[in-house]
Symmetry: C3
Subunit: 314 residues, 3 copies
């Protein structure tokens, strides 16, 4: 049994893209397509979730991610409450569950959960009452499924289909929940060749078992790609022993116009943001004609609206 | 003159349960009863306070309590603004009043006030314009009237009436604003026997004058009780000279299944939350069949909606 | 070309009052007048900005100012999202623009920007997509145009016109964005005599070139004034070498009843808040019959509603 699905196979929680059937992914992308025009309207609002109570339960602070969910929920007319909970006072799982039980008792409909520990959203989903849905907004190194979904939405919008693509994911795959979600989605949706590119210290051992090809140079890895996904290099990595320096990282793995020229001429460039310009990506590429980084953000709202609407409807 | 009532005896502020007539308490509980179904609806919203401006004025941080008021206000369709004001920059009463005057000048309708100093909500209520209502969301050791009311609502729901009950309040009564509000409400509503149980260092001198019986052991105090209300033991107390250790406290005053067996077989167990499991209450009891701790939270939303609706209507 | 106006001369951003035509200022004040009754209604709400997404983008914390914009936006039925962004992680302009680009991609309609650096709101306005409006909610020492506008609204309400007034601005003009906005507005609206009063260390060199008369004593400066605007003395100034002590400042430049008697008998007293009672203003004056400090706050909501409504409509 997939803990994310109801008995009759409908989406009930969104915790990870790992194991989600292709039909569900496609349903989310199609629903997001139907929300694309809401953002363009004079009145950017639909009444679908009116009177629902959605809690942004952020154990790890992230103004940016919280904002995307808050905007998506408000455009669905839901009531949103933001809770920033310091993990110092919540170190024990028991305390997290007491918090969740409390909010559930207030007739919550949905929890959007962000936590620095992998598995936190699953832990909460296992525990909540049957009518409550949980959306993982990023848990440790594990998953960030709405980011993965908006990336698929972006690829489908620009490339039309998945079955004929070569997609490269570049950078710190080891610490990236985003990369994990992307790989699961790309393989499920039928992308025949998914590549990861990075220094050995930033690629997980055995990553090939996820169905990806491993490259250690941009020259080899970017060749012939349709989609280039850059990952954010966390500041703390740059100071660690895993990397010589930001400058040197940029020299080898930063995406410049020259390196991008190795990919197909119509390749698109993606990044989950926020970017470290001059570290993993050059500004000329980030702001260049092949970049679809800002459209990703726009699509992200439609995708989050779709996820929330489907969960509330199922 | 009761500063909480209008000239014709209607509720205008909710500052303390001390001195509130039984008819007012009953009116709040009855109104809360009428809001119980809102939380169960598809659209959890009524338009009663549409266009009203409610300010959560929290001089002492409390995500949990703020959330209950925010949800209650949103379900009444009010506009809610959250203000967390550090007391360091607000140490003088003058600065508090300037803040309150400013918000009042923005056509505020209601202030929900939380402050670490006893009397803060009264101080503000004395000062605001006549059309503005103040709700005390906890002031120092003094009062937490909406907590007291939701406890009464819980007792009435489970026990049907107050006139035939024996109720015990266990733990750190000395520092507890919750306990004070409970005692006032229980005696006003006609509970014939209210008990407090705790070590001498955590019971106020002269507490008997509030109309309660004092016990220093669980064995004697819980005997024959219909309702057992556990109080939270603040972490700072555990480190102070007033207590030997959390373990020893649990041994003598922590509520276990064994100790609970001393009360009536159908006794209910309450706690205002958040719980210190293993300190004042054992998990087997907190999550056991006699616990009504989560229903308390559910009722708390209905009770806060009732208080806000009555204040705005009077 | 004025960067605040559209090609056909309509208000598109509100960044500074410097260079805004008198007709625009008057249009804002007239529009604010039309919103004055909204705050008095049973339902304090108009549907003008329903479904618009307004972001309070505060790089410098200010609960007070954020609240005024939040309330104004909610009374216009907009969706408001608050973002407090620490400038430590945003020191580079590039990072600010990436944040702004991201929020723009979420189909933002308006940014309310507060920043400790002068020019931040202009910088953002130059960069955003054509359909997005920027309101400066205070940038460094530069400008605070909605404060300037609400001050003009207050003066017009109490004095009826501008062409026959003598207005004094008293205190720390050097560090005050509020004073700059007031001077621009007063001269544009035709006030024949604008005075600044303060010690030499707190008046900018060459301030006369803004069209004001400079005074270094209250005795000379307040004589015959119709309007006395007190500025807040920032705490950090009091500790600096620029000032001997708060007590001595109060002796020379604090507004007392005695000093106020030097102005016209019907002079009004204004202050942008929050006040340092006993430093720049005596409580007897702040709370006295000539003070219009709280009406300023009330008018501030109507003025901010007017600015938002005009920007969204143009």
């Amino acid at each position: 049994m997939n803990p994310q699905l109801t008995e009759d196979g409908k989406l009930h929680h969104l915790l990870t893209l790992d194991g989600l059937p292709r039909a569900i992914l496609t349903q989310i992308l199609d629903t997001a397509e139907s929300f694309m025009d809401v953002g363009e309207r004079e009145v950017k609002k639909v009444p679908l979730l009116r009177g629902k109570s959605i809690f942004n339960l952020f154990f790890e602070p992230s103004t940016r991610t919280r904002t995307t969910f808050e905007i998506a929920a408000k455009r669905l007319s839901a009531d949103v409450v933001n809770l920033n909970i310091s993990t110092s006072s919540q170190s024990k799982g028991e305390a997290i569950l007491d918090t969740v039980d409390n909010l559930s008792a207030m007739h919550a409909d949905m929890f959007i959960v962000r936590h620095s520990q992998s598995g936190a959203a699953h832990f909460i989903a296992r525990h909540v009452a049957p009518h409550i849905s949980v959306v993982n907004a990023g848990d440790g190194r594990h998953a960030h499924p709405t980011q993965g979904l908006l990336d698929m939405f972006t690829i489908r919008r620009y490339k039309g289909a998945f079955h004929n693509l070569r997609v490269a994911i570049v950078g710190d795959v080891l610490h990236s929940r985003v990369a994990r979600s992307q790989i699961h989605a790309l393989t499920t949706l039928g992308v025949p060749e998914v590549r990861v590119i990075g220094p050995k210290t930033l690629l997980p051992v055995g990553i090939e078992q996820m169905g990806v090809k491993v490259f250690h140079t941009m020259e080899a890895g970017l060749k012939g790609c349709d989609v280039v996904i850059m990952l954010r290099l966390q500041n703390e990595r740059m100071k660690s022993a895993r990397l010589p320096s930001a400058q040197e990282y940029f020299k080898f793995f930063g995406l410049t116009s020259e390196k991008l020229a190795l990919a197909k001429p119509d390749a698109i460039v993606m990044h989950p943001g926020p970017m470290n310009r001059g570290v993993e990506i050059d500004s000329a590429v980030a702001d260049g004609p092949q970049s679809v980084i800002l459209p990703q953000v726009t699509y992200g709202i439609a995708v989050r609206m779709a996820v929330m609407a489907l969960l509330a409807g199922n």
